[in-house]
Amino acid sequence: MITLFSVDWYLISIIFFIGLYCMLVSRNMFKQLLGLQIMSKACVLAIILCGAATNNVNLSQAIAITMILMEVIAVLAGLGLILKAWKITGCPDLVKLSKLKG
């Protein structure tokens, strides 16, 4: 008999893999940020799931709120870096960043 806990963890690991795949294959910086957000959502869901499984939902909510805040900060910094890279290279392309001089 497979428990709901295992099925949830299984689905969360698939969501994490989709974000990882997006970050691995894409050259677009926006897609990289999107993959980061997807992985972060999978981690937040995993934290909430652990709290629900151990009857510690309030502690897991507090950690999840902190993690959502960190996600927002990381995405904002990433958007700033994308804007700066676009000002320099003219395109949000990761490969073009390796051609910078100076």
């Binding site: 497979i2 428990t3 709901l4 295992s6 949830d8 299984y10 689905l11 690991s13 698939i14 893999f17 989709i18 795949y21 997006c22 294959v25 894409s26 050259r27 677009n28 926006f30 897609k31 940020l33 999107l34 993959g35 957000q37 997807i38 959502k41 937040v44 909430i48 709290g51 499984a53 009857n55 510690n56 939902v57 897991s60 909510q61 507090a62 999840a64 709120i65 902190t66 959502i68 805040l69 960190m70 996600e71 927002v72 900060i73 995405v75 904002l76 910094a77 700033g80 870096l81 994308i82 804007l83 700066k84 676009w86 000002k87 290279t89 003219g90 395109c91 949000p92 392309d93 990761l94």
Partner: protein, 185 residues
Amino acid sequence: MTYHLILFAVLLIFIMASVMLQNLLYSAIMLALGSVTVSLIMFTFSAPWAGVFELSVCAALLPVLVIGTIKLIDAGGRQDLDEGNEDNCGSLGFNIQPVENRIKFRILPLVVSLIAVLGWIFFIPFFEALSKYPYMNSLNRDLGKIIWAGRSQDLIAQITILTAIAMAMKSILHFSGGKNKESKE
């Protein structure tokens, strides 16, 4: 249980759509819809505060910022096109993004189904073993006590990080407009 699994299936569909779609605007909208689904899943886990936070921040604030940045870059791309600089990006206009092979994104359902089959064989026994661990049942305090009394040092660290990121954004987005004006004069 059925409602719960349906929400997870909807979340998978939204997230795969956000990765596979070529138009960045549609990708951001799909990710926002995925955030709404995540918040609904949090409600089913009886975690309403985290769900509301996810709904208000990840489903509302972040897509606005991402779409604003995409439109800003799109406007710059159109300006480049008007000035004749066509070699900056692959596809100009609304889909301003590098030229890349789309097959990597189109085979995503195949890759995910392969991983799902392998995960059902290898991951599920591992997760079943994890679910048999003893649980801590007596630590479920109020959320307010946990945040304000138990994690006050975390709050100070968070405020510090917010200040640091404000400084970092100021330094990242610092454009030397004044110097250029002086050099032009």
